[in-house]
Amino acid sequence: MINIEILLREESRNASSKAIVQAKLHELGFEITGILSASISAKISEAHFVKVFGRSAQAEDPRPLAASDFGSLGGYAGQELPLPPGLDQYVESMTIPPPVTLF
């Protein structure tokens, strides 16, 4: 599953807009994992990702321990995604967060 972070527009940071966005995401095959004040977190399978965005996400394996840190958790290369139709009215950006580094 690919982690997706959805930043809402300022004017959409309310319950009714969040419900609309949530429903649209659900229709597109996203699994909502959290709703916060300004953002929605979701996950999507690789197959659904291809259906929605027309290309694959670039998988990244966990990075091993290095000289300056303890490596990174695995995930997918961070990138900003095009907004699926119907979401641009509510959503400022939709992104894949890059794998996090352990300091």
């Binding site: 972070e5 930043l7 300091f103």
Partner: protein, 484 residues
Amino acid sequence: MPDNNELLKIAISFRGANNDLGLTKFPARMRADLIQEFKPNPQKVSQTIVALQEKGFEITGSGDLTMSVRGYKENFEQHFGTQLELREYSSDAGLVTEDSFYYPPDEANWNADHFLKEFIDEPYIQWPHILMGQRFPSVRPSLFPPRVDYHHLRVPGDVVLTLNAAKVHKEGITGKGVRVAMIDTGFNFDHPYFQEGGFNATSILAPGATDPELDNNGHGTAESANLLAVAPGVSFIGVKLSNETNPRASASILEGFQEALSHNPKIITVSMGYDLALKNAQRSHLTSLPNTYKALEAEIVNAVSKGIIVIFAAGNGHVAFPGRMPEVLSIGGAYVQENGTVRASDYASSFLSKIYPGRRVPDFSGLVGLARNNAQYLMLPLQPGCKIDRNDSDGTGQDDGWAVISGTSAAAPQIAGVCALLLEKDPHLTSTDLRSILRRTSLNVTLGEGSSASNGGVAIPETSTLNGPTGAGLVDAYAALRQL
């Protein structure tokens, strides 16, 4: 490799008598008060059992909500209307019972017999078991750390003394009543160090994470020992991000952050982040925050505005985010030498942010080793045989459950502990209050320099100002307490 005559292990979930959705279709987290709705009609369960037996399946067990069934690949494909493929399987979490098994392709549809589809929510082929612990030594780690022949600090005693928290403890202040969430790889509190400490500590999962008792990396477990040394009385909530079975499915920091928020913590401390340097020789700094990080930025700002103290590691030569956000307490590193003198750690980041004008990183510092020693400085407990334990350069065993490490990862939870001590004394302290108190009471550091990697190849030398590579210096818990 399994053959076609090998029985598949199948779990069946039913459609509920009062909720046609079924367990697997319910979008929210299941709650105890809702579970009754998903119990199937007993008569329908009996009919399903008969139908499955007639189709050649063997019923091996049943519970209130689900049923265990075994059946052949051919039968499964015929009656559940899907094709199965052979999958290879291995896991970092331990040995697996089978190294391949039959399973539907991702996103495969199933089209069961009409009768089965009416009562069955989903049939799931069970994945091979992971034998937890099989790769780990059977001998429990010692409560006492191994000896190494170089200068290092131990938890809890040395860290408590060096941050001047022992005097705070003597006043009966240990962080009692302060809820602290730490977001990290995982938390294995089975180690005798934690058992003996009697800490009020628990591990919970962020979305996508698995196995709350495991920490196969070791980072979260080890760094949490820093916090629990300084503030042994806190209510500690470890939010695990890692998925050991499928590392790509690990939770994001934002998911960990939202999970932490749901537990109403007073402090959230995070020893991880992102390195926002360009990949050129100078490691030039970005001048604006990419959209990839803006959701996390927004939620951190919001959390701090609601009174939550958010603490991030400044990075180990990384141009770290969110450790540079003005709203967070940014924690760098100072090194206390064997003779007691204190110098800036050249392993820890220090820089002037180009994204947040005027923001200098860090605010102040905890204990971090030196780059020439690979920052090996703090003897910390962790899960025996985990990734960090297996690193053999620190003089400890590879599966003894102890490692000598450090980094601003260690410093951030140390200072989170100091903040918890102060919040026990005065629960109304804000993030601004804490920053101000800790900056004016930190031990001024005048030796050493910061990591050059975090500052375009030029190390910031320590001076007597509050804006050197250790920020205001090494945090002094007792001096801070005396301000209250």
